[in-house]
Symmetry: C2
Subunit: 262 residues, 2 copies
């Protein structure tokens, strides 16, 4: 196998509902691992406790900075159900809790009911019109994990010429060829350059809370993403994400509350 | 005072981090109390444990149906911080947990940083062009708690002539004159007729998970609300809400994952 994401989210059981893992620096932004990546560790642990396989709605609150290195993870079934089960999980480093997650799991393959989709995948045009993101991966190591294609004006915005519109669209996939799956969508939901770079706020944007709704299993290929911020108020912003797969299906919605330092 | 919302959310302490309250049926939809109302009980308990006064982002997972009648509430500080603190709370009925909540608190009055809002309050026109929601409050008791004004075609949609567009906009306030505050926004975020009534799905729509971002303290007066569903997939839908106050300020964003029975 040898896919980086699977190597780095391979939890080692240490007891009932407890695991350890060495958080790799390969998902770092500067010195700090990406919050969406940390969420995938918690989802993997939570899935072990859930009678149903698929995360449906997962929320993580980031209590403090996690550093690369060993962490322990605990997960507990809050309430099992026939169709939906709720699970809680926490990530500890040293003796301090750094991330707490609450999520409901289900089985997307057995889910039945009406379908009506009125949104459309972002228009990106042919790949030839897109630009590879050129973020310096010696500082932002996570940039090496993805192929990321952006419209030219947004790619310029990431690097210092803001578009003035707090929106980032583009196509993304793992750079080592690993196909996307449900769990990885939590990572992709937090993997794009922050929307507020396009307003000139080139700074670390700490996530307070991230919620991901997992709506369908993605097909192999590119993920088409659309992130926007409509309400930046006194240094707090939401970032809303939509993720679509190669076949045109919506696969995840995300929203985070994050802080934009003055 | 005698405002119904304050009477019905007046928690009685029973120990360190524990309270009891008799869940009133005045917030019922059919036999079941509104999920947003239950969230306000948990937020009140959580606020008692937090060093900061204001909920910023709160997520509730609904584990099972709560009936009107006595419940116990427990809240615990997960992680105190100088600017943000995370709190967890649970609602129990009998010996079973029915709702679990995870939230981060802060102090909106001390929050500093850039502001940029690019969304606009929904256009509703003059009040004379709106219609009072005529939901039968002998079945949906919560309808008596609010003044709710809707555009005429949406008001008709709630009662049997769906617009075909899964969106509900309108103005709402407490019917007894209580001004809105931050905590009550969690109730208002779940108080409108479901968006999917406008697609003809006139049924109980159980909430799986509800997240509310509290962005500003509302001014006295009407709240202007805009709820929409863009992705209904195999009987699961998100409902996204925006709430604005009388003065034109955005005060809350909400998103829930809910089930639309086949």
């Amino acid at each position: 196998m040898g896919w980086v994401f699977d190597e780095d989210t391979d939890l080692v059981p240490t007891g009932a509902g407890t695991w350890t893992v060495d958080v790799s620096d390969r998902w770092n932004i500067g010195p700090t691992p990406n919050g969406g990546f940390l969420m995938t560790l918690l989802i993997r642990a939570a899935a072990e406790m859930s009678p149903q396989p698929d995360p449906l709605s997962v929320t993580a609150h980031y209590l403090g900075r996690t550093d690369p290195g060993p962490v322990s993870i605990r997960a507990a079934l809050v309430k099992p159900g026939r169709n939906f089960s709720t699970v809680e999980a926490s990530l500890f480093q040293g003796d301090r809790e750094r991330v707490r997650m609450l999520g409901t799991f289900g089985d997307l393959g057995r889910q039945r009911g009406p379908t009506r989709i009125v949104a459309t995948r972002p228009e990106l045009g042919p790949d030839e019109g897109l630009v590879r993101n050129d973020t310096d991966s010696s500082v932002v190591k996570i940039a090496d994990r993805f192929d990321l294609l952006l419209p030219p004006e947004q790619a310029a915005g990431v690097l210092g010429t803001p578009t003035g519109n707090a929106r980032v669209t583009g196509k993304v996939r793992f750079s080592d060829g690993r196909p996307p799956d449900l769990v990885s969508l939590a990572l992709f939901a937090d993997a794009f350059p922050p929307t507020v770079f396009q307003l000139g706020h080139y700074t670390w944007i700490p996530t307070i809370e991230l919620t991901v709704h997992f709506r369908a299993k993605p097909a192999p290929g590119w993920l088409w993403c659309d992130f926007r911020t409509r309400f930046l108020i006194d240094g707090l912003m939401e970032e809303d994400g939509e993720i679509w797969d190669e076949t045109g299906r919506p696969v995840a919605l995300s929203r985070q509350l994050a802080r934009v330092p003055a």
